[in-house]
Symmetry: C2
Subunit: 676 residues, 2 copies
C-alpha cells in the first residue's frame, strides 16, 4: 500500500503497482449524498427507484500517515468545509483495506470511483447470468427473482412483465455480490449489505454506488489469476467438500408421489441410467391453486403422497440411492410449523408487532426471523434436523432467500432494507449449521440459488436458478455457464443447474433436444440433476422417449467415469478454493482472446467444455487457448491452441477437449469409450 | 410579491397569498449541480439518460431587498460558502419574475422546488396526450415523436419499441412546454429551451429539473381561471384568427394524385358532404421506399401527379374549395431546393463544416438552418411564398420540428441541445412570416404538431399529431381531447386532429366505427380534416361505405351549422386568448369534480361535448358541471348539473349538451335538425 500526494491536491493509492484510488480536486474519487428510495416487491420481483436529493463531490482530501502504518484520509467538499467522509486505510495480507465512516447520519449514498483502464476486463458481482465480462454495463446488486426471459426485446419477457412484473433484465440474479475481479489482477470487495450498483460503463473509471456507507472497501491483489482466486476464496470462506455419492449418477427430479418416483427410477435404471438419488420436492405434499400445483410449505413428510416413506427410503438407500427433498425459509399459515413458530415468537412482524404474512399466490406465509438466534436454532433443529435429516433426507433444495420484504420488522433491529441482501447467507448458515449439528457435513448436501457475500462458507453447492426451457441468450441453457464462471471466481467452487431448464410459460415448452444438450453440459458439472419443471404435464420428460433416455444414460456414464478426475477437483477446491468450472483465462492469462469467453469453460485444468447451446446445431465452433494442444474427445483429433476450431457436435458428442500433457490424459481420453 | 424571512433561516415568497417559493436550511428550495447527458435519436424518438455527477442542496439563502423594489437572493451550500446561484426577483404585471444566474459555468443542472398542496391539481406542460392532470407523475419536456402505442403494457407498443424504438410513453409529445397551471390559480413558466423534467409526484412540492440554468421563472396569478388563461395567452402571444372558410365544411385528406382527389370530392359532395378544402400531401410527388410510399421532400408541385394543377386549383377555388399541401423543414438531397440551399450555405452542418444529412429511411435530408436569418428568409420567400402561396396553396401541414439532431452545428453558435426545443417555434415563425409577408394572415392557414414556448404567437392551429387508428387509452381518439385541453390552457386556442387517426402498424387498422366516432368529435373542433393514414390501402376510408359517408356528411352539416357560434369563439380567442375547447373547470371552478376530467370538454361556454371513445358503445356516461342545467342535444332532455348522466349515444348522436341560458341556446338546440 503506497499513498502518494502529488501536485494540485492529487492523491493516489497504489497497491503492488496498481492504481486503485485516484483523487484530484477536479476529478474527485468519492461523492456522498442522500437519497430516498422506492422499493416495491411483487413475488420476488422488485421495482426499485431512487430519488437522489444530494450528491456532493468531495474535492478536498487531507492525508495523514499514522504511527501504526495506516493512512487517514479526510474528504470534504472544499478546503474550508468540514470532512464528510473519513477513510482509514491499512495494509492487509494481500492488499489493503479502507474503512469508511461518514460524519453525518443523513449520508446514505456513497459513489466511489476506481481508476480503470480502457482495455480492462471485469468479472464477478456474484452469480451473473447474462454477462460474464461486466465492462460496458451497470449491475444493480440486489437479490431477487432472476426474471423470465430477461431480455426486453423478446415477446416472452414482455408477457412476463405485463402479466406478473417478472420479465427481469440482464442484471437480475438470485445471487449478487459487491465484489469484482479485474484483469489488472486485483479483487475489490465492498463490505456492505446495502443495495449497490456497480457501473462499469466508463472508460476511465468504475463507479460503485452504495445505499449506505460501506464498512470497508477491501483490495486483494495477486501476481496471477489462480492465486487471486485462491485468496478470494480464503477471504469468503472455503466450502465443505462435495459428498462423493453425488458423483455416482444422476439425481432424478420427480414430483408426483412415491409410485411415480419408484417407477421412473426403475425404468431409468433398466435403460442403463446411473442414478445416485431421487429428488422429490413434493415430499411435503401439494396444494392446488389456480396457477397449478404448488408444494405445501409445512416442512414435514406427506404420508398420503409418500406412504411408508421411512421404509421406502431405507430400501432406496440400501439400493445405493439417496433421497432429497425441498425446503425454504417460509411457513404457510395453514401448516403446523407456522403455529409452533408463531407461538414461540419466531416470525418476523410488522412494525406494530402484528403478523407479517407474505402472499405467494393464494396462500400466505410467515417469515422465520433468522436474526433471532433462537428462531434460527429452532429451524435448524426442529425443522431441518428432526423433520428432514432424521427422517431420511440426505439432501434438499434450500429454495428462496431473495424475498425478504423491505418493510418487515426483525429481531436484531436492523432495517430490513439492509437485511434483504444479507438473508441468503443467513439462510445458508441455518442449513449448514443444521447439517453440522447432525454431524453430517460432507455427506448431506443442500443447494441454493440465492446468495450474497459469505454464502461461500456455508452453501456447499449452487444451482443456477430457474432458466426458461429454451436456448435463449438471456434465459436459456447458456446462461448457466455464465453463472458458474462468475460465481466460481468469487469462491463458489460448485455449481449445477436443472437439466432441461425449469420455467415454461406462455406456451414455451421443453424440447427433447434441449434436454439432451443440457444433459451433455451437466455431465461436466459436479451434480447431474433433472427437474420436471414448473409445468410437468406440458413439457417433455426424459422418460417419454427411448432415444432421449438412452442419450441421458450415456451422459450419466460419462459423469460417473469422470468421478476420479472430479474427486481430484473437489480436493483442490477444499485445499485452494478453485472452482470446478473455470473461465479459460484462469489458466491462460497470457491469451487475452480468452478474457471475454463466457460459453466455454475449463472443467478443472485439463478438460475444455463448450456446450452446444443452439437448436439444430450439428457443428460447433470452439476457441482453444494458446499454449497447449487439445484433443477432441470424440474424434481424437488433436489441435494446437490459439485458434478457433469447428468440430462435429451431434447429440451425444458434446464439444469436449482434453489437454495434451494432462496427468490423467489417457483416462480422460477413454471417456468416449466409457460413454458407449 | 412579498418576501418574508422567518426564524431558522426560512425564506418565503408569497404572491397574492400563494406561497410559491419556500426555503429552509433543512428543506432547501434549490439544488444545483452538474450532469453528463446521453441523447440518442432514432427517427425522432429519443433515448435520453443523465449521469448526475453533482447535486448540491443550497441550504443558505441571503436576502437583500433592493432600492428598486426587487429582491436579491444569494443561495449557497452553507453560511461559509460562496453563493452558487443568484435570484433577482421583481414584480410583474400579474405576479413576479425571478431571474436566475449561476456563479460557475460548470453548473448545468438546476432543481427547483415549488411548494405544493396535497389536493392540488396541475395542468399544462404543452400538449400532453395521456394525462391532463399532471399530478402523480413526472413529465420530461423534450419535443419528439409522440410514440406508437405509448403504453408499455400493450403489444403494439412493444412491437413499435422493438422494431424501431418508437413505442413511446405517456409523456412523449410533439409539443412540450415548461409551463404549468395550478389549481391554486397561478401559472409557473420557466424561460429556457433546455431539456427539463417537471416532477409532480410529491405531495408537498413540485420539483422542476432543468439541464441548464433557466433565464427566468415567471409566476402569473389571477383570481379566477378564465383571467389566468387570458394572462397566459397574453404572455405567450395571441394567435391570428382562424380563416372563416375553414368553417365551411370538411377538408378532405387525399393523397393519390389529381384524379383521385377530384373523384372523391365529387362523390362526397354528391352524398351531401360539405367540403371546404382538399388537402393533398402528395402535391410534391412521392418516393417509393421499402417502407411504403413517402412524399418527395422537395417542396414544389409535381406535374406528373397533379397535371394542370394551376388551372385545376382555380376551378376548385371558384367552386368554393381551397387547396392545401404539405411542407416540412427538411430538403431531400436528391431534390432541387436542397442544391439551392446548400450552395447558399443555408444548411446546418457538422462541427467540421461538412454536410449534415439526416436519415429518414432510405432517403437523406439537409436541415435548413433557421438560426441563420438569411436561410429562414429564403425558406419563407423562395419556398413558401414562391412555390406554395403563389402557386395556389391556401394552407398546409407544417410537419416536423421535433427532429433537430443534438450534434448539428448552427449559425447562431448555440448548442443544438439547447436549440432542439426551440426549433418548433422557429419553424412556426418561418411559416407565419411567409404568410404575413404575402399579406395572407387570417386567410392562409397552416397547422403544426410540434410546439414549444412561443409557438402560440405564430402557429394559427395545432393538430394533435399521429394517433393510432384505434380507441386505446394512450394513443387513440381520446388522447386528442387531452391534447386540446392541455395546450389550450397555455394559449393555443385552436386544435384539431386527423379524423380516423393516422398510424396503422402491426395489423392495427381503422374501423368504420372509429372513423365515425372521430368525425363526431371533429365536428366540435375548429377544423374537420380527414387523413388517409400512413397505409391508405389497408385502412378503411370514408368513401368506401355509403352509411359512413352519410354519417360523415351529417357531421359536416353540424359543423357548418355551428359556424356562427364558432365565429363568436374565434373572436373571443382573438380578444382574450380563450381556447375553443375548454376543460370544464375553466367555467366551473367551484366544482372540483371537474378538475380531473379529460375526456369531456366545453366547446366555448355553452356546449359540453363528451366524445364516445370506446368501441361498441351505444350509451355514454357524462358529467355535467354544477351550477347550470344542460339540454341533451339529440333527445332534448334537460338535466341539472352536478351529476353523472347516462345518455343514448348511437353513431350520429355524439353526447353533446347545450347550456340552459346560453345566448344562442335556441340556435344550438336546432343543431339536431340541421344535422338531418
Amino acid at each position: 500500500m503506497n499513498w502518494q500526494t502529488e501536485a494540485g491536491g492529487k492523491l493516489v493509492l497504489r497497491v503492488a503497482g496498481r492504481t486503485l484510488f485516484e483523487h484530484a480536486p477536479d476529478a474527485p474519487a468519492v461523492f456522498v449524498g442522500h437519497g430516498v428510495e422506492t422499493i416495491d416487491m411483487y413475488r420476488g420481483n422488485f421495482d426499485i427507484s431512487d430519488y437522489v436529493e444530494e450528491r456532493v463531490a468531495l474535492r478536498d482530501a487531507r492525508l495523514t500517515l499514522q504511527a501504526d502504518g495506516s493512512a487517514r484520509i479526510e474528504l470534504a467538499r472544499d478546503a474550508q468545509a468540514a470532512a464528510e467522509l473519513t477513510i482509514v486505510a491499512s495494509e492487509s495480507a494481500h492488499g489493503a483495506q479502507l474503512a469508511l465512516s461518514a460524519s453525518g447520519a443523513e449520508i446514505n449514498r456513497v459513489w466511489w470511483r476506481v481508476p480503470a483502464q480502457r482495455d480492462e476486463h471485469v468479472w464477478g458481482c456474484g452469480e451473473q447470468m447474462s454477462y460474464f465480462d461486466l465492462r460496458g454495463r451497470n449491475f444493480p446488486l440486489w437479490t431477487s427473482e432472476p426474471g423470465v426471459g430477461r431480455d426486453k426485446s423478446t415477446h416472452l419477457t414482455w408477457q412476463a412483465d405485463t402479466t406478473s412484473k417478472s420479465g427481469g433484465d440482464y442484471y437480475n440474479t438470485n445471487y449478487p455480490q459487491p465484489t469484482f475481479v479485474s484483469s489488472q489482477k486485483y479483487c475489490l470487495h465492498a463490505e456492505t449489505t446495502a443495495y449497490a450498483d456497480f457501473d462499469f460503463r466508463h472508460d476511465e473509471r468504475h463507479e460503485l454506488q452504495f445505499w449506505a456507507v460501506p464498512e470497508r472497501i477491501e483490495l486483494i491483489v495477486a501476481d496471477d489469476f489462480i492465486t487471486l482466486v485462491e485468496r478470494i476464496s480464503q477471504r469468503f470462506g472455503r466450502q465443505p467438500a462435495l459428498p462423493a455419492w453425488v458423483m455416482d449418477g444422476a439425481i432424478l427430479g420427480l414430483k408426483n408421489g412415491r409410485d411415480h418416483a419408484q417407477t421412473i427410477m426403475e425404468q431409468s435404471r433398466a435403460a442403463g441410467l446411473k442414478v445416485s438419488g431421487l429428488w422429490c420436492e413434493d415430499w411435503v405434499g401439494i396444494r392446488q391453486t389456480s396457477f397449478g400445483k404448488r408444494l405445501f410449505w409445512d416442512w414435514r413428510w406427506n404420508e398420503t403422497r409418500y406412504p411408508g416413506h421411512a421404509e421406502w427410503v431405507k430400501q432406496l438407500n440400501a439400493d445405493g440411492v439417496r433421497f432429497l427433498g425441498y425446503v425454504n425459509p417460509y411457513l404457510c399459515n395453514d401448516g403446523t410449523l407456522y403455529v409452533e413458530a408463531k407461538q414461540a415468537g419466531y416470525l418476523a412482524t410488522r412494525a406494530d408487532g402484528s403478523d407479517y404474512l407474505v402472499d405467494f399466490g393464494e396462500f400466505d406465509c410467515g417469515v422465520v426471523d433468522f436474526t433471532n438466534p433462537a428462531a434460527a436454532r429452532w429451524f435448524e433443529e426442529r425443522v431441518i434436523r428432526d423433520e428432514m435429516l432424521n427422517k431420511g433426507l440426505d439432501g434438499w433444495m434450500a429454495d428462496f432467500g431473495e424475498y425478504l420484504p423491505t418493510d418487515v420488522t426483525l429481531a436484531n433491529g436492523i432495517d430490513a432494507k439492509l437485511m434483504h441482501n444479507a438473508w441468503p447467507t443467513l439462510w445458508a448458515q441455518v442449513n449448514a449449521r443444521a447439517i453440522e449439528g447432525a454431524g453430517r457435513t460432507g455427506d448431506a448436501v443442500f443447494f441454493m440459488r440465492a446468495g450474497y457475500t459469505g454464502v461461500q462458507a456455508h452453501c456447499p453447492l449452487l444451482w443456477a436458478g430457474d432458466q426458461s426451457v429454451d436456448f435463449t441468450r438471456h434465459d436459456g441453457l447458456q446462461t448457466v455457464i455464465c453463472g458458474a464462471l462468475s460465481s466460481g471466481l468469487l469462491g463458489n467452487a460448485y455449481h449445477h443447474s436443472d437439466i432441461g431448464g425449469y420455467t415454461s410459460l406462455f406456451g414455451n415448452t421443453r424440447t427433447p433436444e434441449l434436454f439432451q444438450r443440457w444433459a451433455e453440459m451437466a455431465a461436466f458439472t459436479p451434480m447431474m440433476r433433472t427437474h420436471e419443471g414448473n409445468r410437468p404435464d406440458s413439457n417433455f420428460q426424459f422418460w417419454q422417449d427411448a432415444g432421449v433416455l438412452a442419450h441421458f444414460a450415456r451422459m450419466t456414464r460419462v459423469f460417473v467415469a469422470l468421478k476420479p478426475y472430479v474427486q481430484g477437483l473437489v480436493d483442490e477446491a477444499a485445499a485452494r478454493g478453485l472452482p470446478l468450472q473455470r473461465p479459460l483465462f484462469l489458466h491462460y492469462e497470457h491469451d487475452r482472446a480468452t478474457y471475454a469467453i463466457q460459453d466455454h469453460y475449463l472443467y478443472g485444468r485439463d478438460l475444455l467444455v463448450a456446450p452446444v447451446h443452439a437448436a439444430g446445431a450439428m457443428q460447433w465452433r470452439v476457441y482453444l487457448p494458446q499454449g497447449d494442444a487439445w484433443t477432441h474427445l470424440w474424434s481424437g483429433t488433436r489441435y494446437e491452441g490459439g485458434q478457433h476450431v469447428d468440430v462435429a457436435a451431434p447429440p451425444g458428442e458434446p464439444p469436449v477437449f482434453v489437454r495434451h500433457g494432462a496427468a490423467r490424459e489417457a483416462q480422460l481420453l477413454k471417456l468416449a469409450q466409457d460413454a458407449a
